[in-house]
């Protein structure tokens, strides 16, 4: 019998995306309820820094001083194999991405490295498998894949970006920082906070072919506040010398990022409609407009990038949902028109309205052979300012009547 439970869990996120950008307005709620927020009895319990991750279970642990590794050290091939449902998740990792971006995970090699226990009692197993490219994929709440030597770009404030991988996720009302360390000389991994405090993060080293250490840290409520937030993750050797540092992952998003911070929804007006889609805008207090792209009553995306922050003359792309595939973009002021080019030679010219374009791609352009292949932005002199190409063979971008099997239980539109 078909087991629908794992499928349900995978699909629910599509129906109602997890929203980490909600307003902290407890005071306003109290006021609405007729209670003076200043008289609220809440006692702020500032917890001590440090891990409260209880019951760290390591599958196979070897103390391996001869190797110069810091315990706990997990021998990958001695660790417990993953059950079928997890193997299938890794198989799906290979299939879900754009063409040419298959991480080539080896699902059958997936192992359980450890299980982290969050303060709320939730257990987070760390599943890891190597890839055919020499990297690895992992699932830990979220997860992903890393190719060997994939990260070379250095953001300001960072040092040796290939050494430290940082990811953040929220799940089961817990905020978690997790990732990997590549340099085996790392004797200490330190999370630094805006208030000057630090926390040492335990590492679990995993043998070849993974050859990395994993870490996980659950933020306390106090550490989620701006004044106490984490600001850097630092890898140190045994003499205290900094081997690698990441600060870019902890920077706060700019204030104009969130429409709720810088615009009034009461000022919102619809400027573009195309089929069931629309774009509404409202003035942003930081310049330009905030925008909301909507499919009927549902907001698909929103943002508030002032035009001066656009790094390209045309920032946008394709969106797809049940019943539609669309192109939308925010444009720099000097863009006079956007030309969409389709397979077979058809073109569509869009004229910007308040710096935006929107086009609901008609069903006639959904089949292969008719699809959108490029968008180009031109100024009033006909000079091309920006362009973007689209892969017409990318699966899952257009609705269809007959899906094709991708493998691992997944099907998609061709």
């Amino acid at each position: 019998m078909l087991d629908v439970e794992p499928l349900i869990q995978n699909e629910l996120a599509r129906l109602a995306p997890y929203d980490t950008d909600l307003p902290d307005d407890w005071g306003a709620l109290l006021a609405r309820a007729g209670i003076n927020p200043a008289a609220s009895p809440r006692r702020h319990r500032i917890r001590m820094l440090g891990l409260a991750l209880a019951g760290l279970v390591v599958a196979v642990v070897f103390v391996a001083p001869a190797l110069g590794l810091h315990p706990p050290f997990v021998d990958f091939f001695s660790a417990k194999h993953a059950p079928k449902r997890v193997v299938r998740q890794f198989a799906q990792l290979n299939l879900g991405g754009p063409r040419g971006m298959n991480p080539q995970a080896i699902p059958g090699q997936t192992r359980l490295i450890t299980t982290y226990h969050l303060r709320n009692g939730k257990a987070l197993p760390l599943w890891v498998t190597p890839t055919r490219r020499g990297g690895f994929c992992y699932i830990l709440g979220g997860g992903g894949c890393l190719a060997p030597g994939a990260r070379t770009h250095t953001e300001p404030g960072d040092l040796n970006p290939g050494v430290l991988d940082v990811a953040r996720f929220s799940a089961w009302h817990a905020r978690v920082i997790e990732g990997t360390v590549a340099n085996q000389k790392t004797a200490k991994l330190e999370l630094r906070f805006a208030n000057g405090q630090t926390a040492a993060l335990p590492l679990i080293w995993v043998s070849k072919p993974i050859d990395r250490a994993f870490y996980l840290y659950q933020l306390t409520r106090a550490q989620e506040k701006s004044s106490n937030r984490p600001t850097a993750l630092v890898a140190l050797d045994k003499s205290g010398q900094v081997l690698a540092r990441v600060t870019s992952a902890f920077r706060l998003p700019p204030p104009w990022f969130n429409p709720n911070n810088v615009s009034n929804k009461a000022d919102r007006r619809v400027i573009l409609r195309s089929g069931p889609l629309s774009i509404a805008i409202a003035p942003s207090r930081t310049g330009g407009n905030c925008s909301w792209v909507r499919y009927r009553a549902a907001t698909i995306s929103s943002g508030c990038a002032p035009p001066r922050f656009l790094t390209t003359a045309m920032a946008g792309g394709l969106s797809h949902g049940t019943g539609f595939t669309s192109f939308d973009a925010q444009l720099k002021p000097d863009v006079a028109r956007v030309v969409l080019r389709f397979q077979g030679g058809a073109t569509v010219t869009l004229t910007p309205v308040d710096g935006f374009v929107l086009y609901n791609i008609p069903e006639a352009s959904w089949p292969r052979g008719q699809r959108l292949i490029a968008a180009a932005a031109y100024n009033s002199d006909g000079e091309k300012l920006a362009s973007e190409k689209f892969d017409p063979l990318q699966t899952g971008l257009y609705d269809c009547t007959k899906t094709i099997p991708l493998g691992a239980g997944l099907r998609t539109c061709p």
């Binding site: 629908v4 629910l12 109602a16």
Partner: protein
């Protein structure tokens, strides 16, 4: 004494609000279909919960009581027309970014089944809390969830057979 108990309750409600807000909004959004309305529904529910906190008798958990308030507020909100920039439109639940697979099938479930699916797998509530939140028996939750599974399984197999 009463004030002290009420204040403790308020702390517990605040704790729930801070811990569970994303999940509450998610489930409300599954009912009303629109983020801003979901947030407003959750806030409206909490205003009611705060005001009537002294009336909570401990029959079931406080979390279940809060969930019940949120579900009711979201249901009320879903019946009201949406007003955006001067225009009015009827709002039905839609799956905005469902691509393929189960998402459209979950969206098409009867409301009670869909709600139980969300509360179970998204909000991660146990059967007892779901039952308290919806004002039904635990057995009803179990049966509703089983019906949802059966519906999804049947429809998914049908989709696959048709493909």
């Amino acid at each position: 004494m009463i004030q002290g108990r009420s204040d403790r309750r308020l702390e517990e409600i605040e704790s729930l609000y801070r811990d569970r807000l994303p999940h509450l909004v998610q489930v409300a959004r599954a009912i009303v279909g629109e983020r801003e309305r979901a947030i407003e529904a959750v806030q409206q529910a909490f205003v009611g919960v705060i005001r009537s906190r002294d009336g909570f008798r401990g029959e079931g958990t406080l979390e279940a009581w809060v969930w019940r308030a949120v579900v009711n507020a979201a249901r009320d909100a879903s019946r009201q027309p949406l007003v955006v920039a001067g225009e009015e439109q009827d709002v039905a639940y839609e799956a905005p970014a469902a691509v393929q697979g189960l998402a459209p099938l979950i969206a098409a479930l009867p409301e009670r089944q869909r709600l139980v699916v969300f509360l179970r797998y998204y909000a991660d509530l146990d059967y007892r809390t779901i039952a308290d939140a919806l004002g039904v028996e635990v057995g009803t939750v179990s049966a509703t969830l089983a019906s949802a599974h059966a519906n999804l399984r049947t429809n998914l197999e049908k989709v696959r057979a048709d493909a």
